[in-house]
Amino acid sequence: MIWETVRLSLLSVRRNVLRSFLTLLGIVIGVAAVIAMLTIGSGTTEKVKADISKLGSNLLVVRPGRPAGPGGPGGLDQATRPLGSKELAALVAHLSGARAISPASQKQVRVIFGTESLTSGVTGTDSAYLDARDWKLVSGRPFSDSEIRSGTGVCLIGETVRQQFFGAGDPEGEIIRVNRTSCKIIGLLEPKGYTGFGQDQDNVVLMPLAAYQRRIAGNRDIDSIYVAADDGTATTELLPRVEDILRDARRIPPDREDDFSIRDMTQIADAMASATTTMTGMLGAVAGVSLLVGGIGIMNIMLVSVTERTREIGIRLAIGAHEKHILIQFLVEATVLSLLGGIIGILIGLALAGLASLTLAIPFAPSPAVILLAVGFSALIGMVFGFFPALRGARLDPIDALRHE
């Protein structure tokens, strides 16, 4: 009986191809929008998480200046005392639970090789930097201790810098000019790609901190200190220890606030991931409204269908159909319609998400749960919005219905 009714409703869908298609359109667009939004959204969340973990996992970043709280100007109100080798030495000497502690000072500088030039992020640091940021070398070697100590003009370059100057060639041993000082390439960094904010993480040149300070910055300041927690230590556990050591090293009296900030990259990652999730949910909800509109479309067309087929309903009632038979017939028809729309919508939505993941370079992350939900929801819409028209059909008086022209 039910199978018979489903077959019948498919027949009726086929008999009115154009009308069925137009009815479906609302549901198709709604479901496609929801699926595309949620799939792109979860891809973005994954991308953001991956980006932040590229900065290094379990990482604390110390910067000079008061922490930027909500509404606070964040260290711009006073002449901030820079970080220096004193703080770095204190952390190296006293901090436990850290896998790597590394200074980093950075500046956008023009880098030249031959006739080519490129503005690149030049960072002065030490050999622990690679460890702190989970960064590996594709070829060459890290800085040696003597190079760090004496500030020799040697550097490690990122993939973008290599491509700009050497194409696919081997850059090792070549000399590039960084801000009028020369620098010998000793290694190539593993490519990291773009961040979620469109920043090229491979357009970098690393050199020993002492060399950077002397030849590029012209001072002995340290812009930031990276502290990576070891596997057994949570960053939340490490953070107060770093704070204590730094307050002590900078001799901040107990009644004064910190004049430096410590950022926990793990927490930032979580916060950003949850922000994208919220965003995804909101976009999904907006797309959901179009599903509702699609449902009203179904109701509209089912009402038309019931009116158009009044005579058919009369015949069916005359030859012995019960109210429930007519009700089920039109309900199944509405459900089949909206399910069909749902399935087409899912395919289109996934295609859109696939396209977006290609162009935006985010992972394609379709969720079976979301797809199942979309199927269920579109069937539900058919039933809910098909019910009223179906009931109207079922309640018709057979005599009137038969007389209907």
């Binding site: 018979e4 058919e312 015949i315 005359a318 030859i319 012995g320 159909a321 019960h322 109210e323 005599i399």
Partner: protein
């Protein structure tokens, strides 16, 4: 020729509207049809013949009085019980054929069996058999648009008899047909009446069509004006 009482009207009234505007389509009609009879119902429009037919076919219920069908007080049954009664015991043939458009002859004939819950295979076999009985072999998979008026009415008759009903209600079954087709259809109905013992109640306004029946009941202004055995059976 005449069996037990199949249909009785006992002072049946059917009224529409209220107060001054009340119209009595049927005004205390008494009527009886025996099992196996072929009865023609005639009368001018507004005489109450259609209303009487709707009540006979269990599509409608009287406002007052008793309508009994097969000994059942059918006038007091609810919609779904009357639907069940129609499905089990009544076949309908209409003037305008009333076939489902864009649906093949055999699918049209299968329709009442669907609501009986007959399995697909058996349904198909029964429908093919009914179509053969009305002389439509070879046309089973044509849609109404591909069939002539006479053929469409034969499909409608096949649909009415596929359930092996006790009663066939025919409302102007030849109203849309030419003379030759009319006689073919009437001969088919007569044959079903004699061979299957099918009771037929037929509304018509043509005397030569009514002449195929054994008895003619004439309605006028909501009353039975005459009720006579046809002397000359064609």
């Amino acid at each position: 020729m005449s069996g037990s009482l199949l249909i009785t009207f006992d002072k049946v009234w059917k009224s529409y509207g209220q107060g001054e505007a009340t119209v009595h389509a049927l005004a205390g009609v008494d009527l009886a049809i025996r099992s196996g009879e072929f009865v023609a119902i005639m009368g001018p429009s507004g005489s109450g013949k259609s209303t009487a037919m709707n009540i006979i076919g269990c599509l409608d219920t009287p406002t007052a009085g008793t309508y009994s069908f097969m000994g059942i007080d059918a006038g007091r049954l609810d919609r779904n019980r009357r639907a069940m009664l129609r499905n089990l015991y009544v076949g309908f043939v209409f003037q305008g054929y009333n076939l489902l458009p864009r649906t093949t002859a055999v699918e049209n004939v299968e329709l009442p069996l669907i609501y009986r819950g007959v399995a697909a295979r058996e349904r198909h076999d029964l429908a093919m058999k009914a179509l053969a009985e009305v002389g439509l072999v070879g046309r089973e998979h044509h849609t109404p648009a591909e069939l002539s008026g006479g053929q469409q009415q034969r499909v409608a008759i096949a649909r009415a008899i596929v359930t092996r009903p006790t009663l066939l209600v025919a409302d102007e079954p030849t109203g849309n047909l030419d003379t030759a087709r009319t006689h073919e259809i009437m001969e088919l109905l007569t044959r079903l009446n004699t061979e299957l013992g099918l009771t037929i109640a037929m509304v018509t306004h043509e005397a030569d069509v009514a002449a195929y029946a054994e008895r003619t009941i004439r309605f006028l202004d909501g009353h039975v004006a005459s009720n006579a055995v046809n002397l000359e059976v064609v």
